[in-house]
Amino acid sequence: MKTTLAWLKTHLDTEAPLSAILDRLIMLGHDVEGVEDRMGALAPFVVAEVVSAEPHPNADRLKVCLADTGKRRVQVVCGAPNARTGMKGVFAPAGTVIPRTGAVLKEANIRGVASRGMLCSAYELGLGDDHDGIIDVSPDAPLGVRYASLLGLDDPVIDIKVTPNRADCLGVRGIARDLAAAGLGRLLPLDTTPVPGRFRSPVAIHIEDRHACPLFLGRHLRGLENGPSPAWLARRLEAIGLRPISTLVDITNFMTFDLNRPLHVFDAGRLQGDLTVRLARPGERLLALDGQEYALDAQVTVICDARGVQSLGGVIGGEATGCSAQTREVFIEAALFDPVRTAATGRRLGISSDARYRFERGLDPAFVADGLEIATRLMLELCGGEASEIVPAGAVPEWRRSYVLRAGRCASLGGLAVAQSESAAILEALGASVAPRENGNLSVEPPSWRGDIVGEADLVEEVLRVKGYDEIPAVPLPRESTLPRPALARPRRRAELVRRTLAARGFVEAVTYSFIARREAELFGGGGPQLRLVNPISADLDQMRPSILPNLIAAARRNADRGLADTALFELGPAYRDDTPEGQLLVAAGLRAGMSEPRHWRDRPRPADLYLLKADALAALAAMGAPADNVQISAEPPAWYHPGRAGVLRLGPAVLGHFGELHPAVLEALDVRPPAAAFEVFLNAVPEPRAGAAKPPLKLSVFQPVERDFAFIVNRDLPAETLLRTARGVDRRLVAQIRLFDVYEGAGLSEGMKSLAIAVTLQPQEHTLTDAEIEGFSKRLVAQVEKATGGRLRG
């Protein structure tokens, strides 16, 4: 919503400077988006009289002029053919920046004659393309006055962000009313004197649907002259960015922005018969004033004459009955249209008009008649002619309602104690009717233009808004307990531990979109229609992601394109299995691509493989306190992993996660070169560790531990876990730790076999182990492992 300062002052009698007005607007809740000082670069240019214009002694086409600004006289050499003694022009002294070129005007010696300024053309001022002559200013313009003021450009344009609830402030008067209520001036009275009707309107109005259009006041005007608008009107519209079209059209625009009263004006000469307001019939169409043809349906409120639809109520008029320079008679429509229907119509047809914007927010139901009178008077004043009597249809909807503002409620809700008498004065200044009730309470009836006030809280806001939120004392929020409770519930706390653990392991955290391309989702087990966006911002962001990995893989590709081929990225975020709250999984996913670290003279980097990522996945689980000893690993990974180089982490029937090298076909589809391996851990699937801070008792043995190594030759396909599990089970009390320290295939072993070497640490609890006991254990271990694995001890 834009206005100029001068326009605002046609409604507000105030001496307040612009800065005070702007500050007040902001503190009333009308944020100022900007103030445009249109004068800007034109400020130095003033009106001067050419007191003499003599031929240049050394040049035929130049003249030596003496310009009088009222304060001083300056000699100027000028080449304009229209420079002449006695004229008034626009003068710029040396040192001025010329708007068109940005150059600084310098004193000069032109063919032997000093020139200390310039008489300007419209071209040089950036106001037009005319550079054949200097500007000829009206003879009655005072000397020394800024030329910009003559053009009305010294009036700053204020751009106000009106919140959606304040429909009443979509007109300049509404803004003025708020400022006046806040003590920034006096709201000037509005002349709503009725214009007497001279004749009976030949056009009648019929409303078929009183819900769609509760009220329609019409008036016929004839004998009009529809030329260009006078300068004051054209300039105001131009100032707020509207193009003046013709007086009649400009008046409707002016009524919209000045008084927030949109009107429509039909060229009555082009109407046939009466007007009917009804819902459109399927198949009806309208060529609208924006040059577009719209197909209508039964949701749209239309205004028809005998020939058919001529206008869309509250949205846009029709081309066929629009005003033109030839228009001599009009029919003015001042109506109320249902906000919901208006909004829906505009949305469905894709029409954004100033009228729709206002109708859908709700207009002042009690101002329709006054608005019509004011518009009538303006049209008759500017276009001549005479007006009919008003043609009424429908009725003003009931808008009166009242709410109680309890004594003390401003303090108990708003935190600011305001005397009821002061609250009453503020509300009355805003247009409300206030009556005292029992116990110091007030009964408040909001004004007709404040449909947004629907309860006591709104009344409190009005009082606080006018008092100023700055007045509310800031009070510390009292503590509910001396010490704060933990802000994070256990699942969140565990997730944060995973996040920090992964970062500590060298992973860089990414945050990526929750939606991806459908084809990518399909590669990762998703892509169903249930999770497809109806209105994605682009076709490749249309599917809720079933996994974080496609985004990490794409990120690795982008980084590789920039020369960073070795990446370790993770994200801790959502994956979507279905559209229920439970279907939203919290996942920690990591991707390593390329090598584990840069080449180095000492440490050999490793390619990203399943074992690196298995370690990462287990670290994530450990950070969550998952029972690591009970996690089983199986080798049936989901389809996006390499079928032979990946694993699944399970705890009983629950899948805690996956890890492994990515499927070559998936990498190819996502345009990433191997090696690349990943893990996914499903945080919700990991059981909560036992509550309580106490740790189990620590039993330390005083007896020497013993370590023995064993190597077994087993079938190449034997999972190492089979051997380890068996070895652990030989004597659970004695075996403290088993490490698998060597895996060997090749020379010395027969085809299809491998050697697995383990170091077993025995920790006796009661006495130091004897050689015989160690020997006995070793025999049992070898026998049990050989039996369980089908292998044999390597000799």
Binding site: G415, G455, L464, A474, L502, S538
Partner: protein, 363 residues
């Protein structure tokens, strides 16, 4: 005479041995000397063995002399041995040389994304004020995202939300991607009785994409519901937050009336800044930056959650996490948050162990 003769033998032996010890230039040579004199058949050993044949009085004197000689010899051998050991160590150290200027490999360092770090900072501050973190689903239904928040279907605010929709379901309803974190207010109020103090960080979605809008971004929502909390508390709480978060003790904080369907009265919150010289600086400086929306929870919202607005009241607020992160850390472009550019993450990211805490002063 006999006695003197034996004394002379011992002295001569020691002289000879000492000379040989001096000449020994390696542990092996030294060991040769030891064997020659003190070995099983060494010269001194043999002399000592002969003692038994002597007369007792002679034997005593002779024994003492030989024992003294043996002790001297052993001491000389040990001293020489230590000397040779030192020399050998020095010689070894002369050749054991590594270049300490060679670059070492540091463990690969990860980073925490600025969004996560900022959320942790916000939680650390509000946590001190007794707020606890609540969360909710991203895929929401109309009731939680709009209707319960006092945004009925025809409300103009719905259009301004640029909502992402999921396909229509058989019953005609459509799920949406939540456009704000406010649905979690509703879910919380429905599931627990007041008093309530929650903050809700999380993903939000709007169907809008340009230099200053991302289709996905993060918000943090706050909600306080009890019997007495009023707008003065709202101001106090948010002023404290802004000053702690930006680390500016005298940061000016301004509350402006505004409009949100779910609060009444509503306030937009600005912080002071200066833009002198084209550089944005948070603090007193005559200019303002909008960072928060807030207000007293609308009675209709309380009613929608089954809380009696005649008995309970409170405030709610919401802010964009990326926005405050950009302001605090001088990150110029919103879109870069989601690009996963390793150079960006390394530069704007945080160390794994840099966990925000008011107590530790790590904010």
């Amino acid at each position: 005479m006999q006695q003197n003769l034996e004394q002379d033998d011992a002295n001569r032996l020691i002289e000879a041995a000492s000379a040989e010890i001096d000449r020994a230039d390696s542990p092996e040579a030294l060991d040769g000397v030891r064997v020659k004199y003190l070995g099983r058949r060494g010269e001194l050993t043999m002399l000592m063995r002969g003692l038994g044949a002597l007369a007792p009085e002679v034997r005593r004197a002779q024994g003492e002399a030989l024992n003294a000689a043996k002790d001297r010899l052993a001491a000389a051998l040990e001293a020489k041995g230590a000397e040779l050991g030192r020399a050998a160590l020095e010689a070894r150290l002369l050749v054991e040389r590594a270049d300490p200027t060679l670059p070492v490999a540091f463990a690969q360092t990860g980073r925490i994304h600025p969004i996560s770090q900022t959320i942790d900072e916000i939680v650390a501050i509000f946590g001190e004020m007794g707020f606890v973190v609540a969360e909710g689903p991203h895929i929401e239904d109309d009731f939680y995202n709009f209707t319960a928040l006092n945004i009925p279907p025809e409300h103009p605010a719905r259009q301004e939300h640029d909502t992402f929709y999921l396909p229509q379901r058989p019953d005609g309803s459509r799920l949406v991607l939540r456009t704000h974190t406010s649905p979690v207010q509703i879910r919380t109020m429905q599931s627990q009785p007041p008093p309530i103090r929650i903050i809700v960080p999380g993903r939000t979605f709007r169907c809008d994409h340009d230099a200053t809008h991302s289709p996905m971004f993060h918000q943090v929502e706050g909600l306080v519901i009890d019997r007495t909390t009023h707008m003065g508390h709202l101001k106090g709480c948010l002023i404290e937050f802004c000053r702690a978060f930006f680390g500016v003790e005298d940061l000016p904080v301004r509350f402006r009336p505004s409009y949100f369907p779910f609060t009444e009265p509503s306030a937009e919150v600005d912080i002071g800044c200066s833009r002198a010289g084209g550089e944005l600086k948070i603090g007193a400086g005559g200019d303002w930056l909008e960072i928060l929306g807030s207000g007293m929870v609308h009675p209709a919202v309380l009613e929608n959650c089954g809380i009696d607005p005649a008995e309970y009241q409170g405030f709610a607020f919401g802010m964009g996490i990326e926005r405050v992160a950009m302001l605090k850390y001088g990150i110029p472009d919103l879109r870069t948050f989601y690009e996963s550019d390793l150079r960006w993450l390394d530069h704007y990211g945080f160390a794994a162990l840099d966990i925000p805490s008011l107590v530790r002063g790590a904010l």
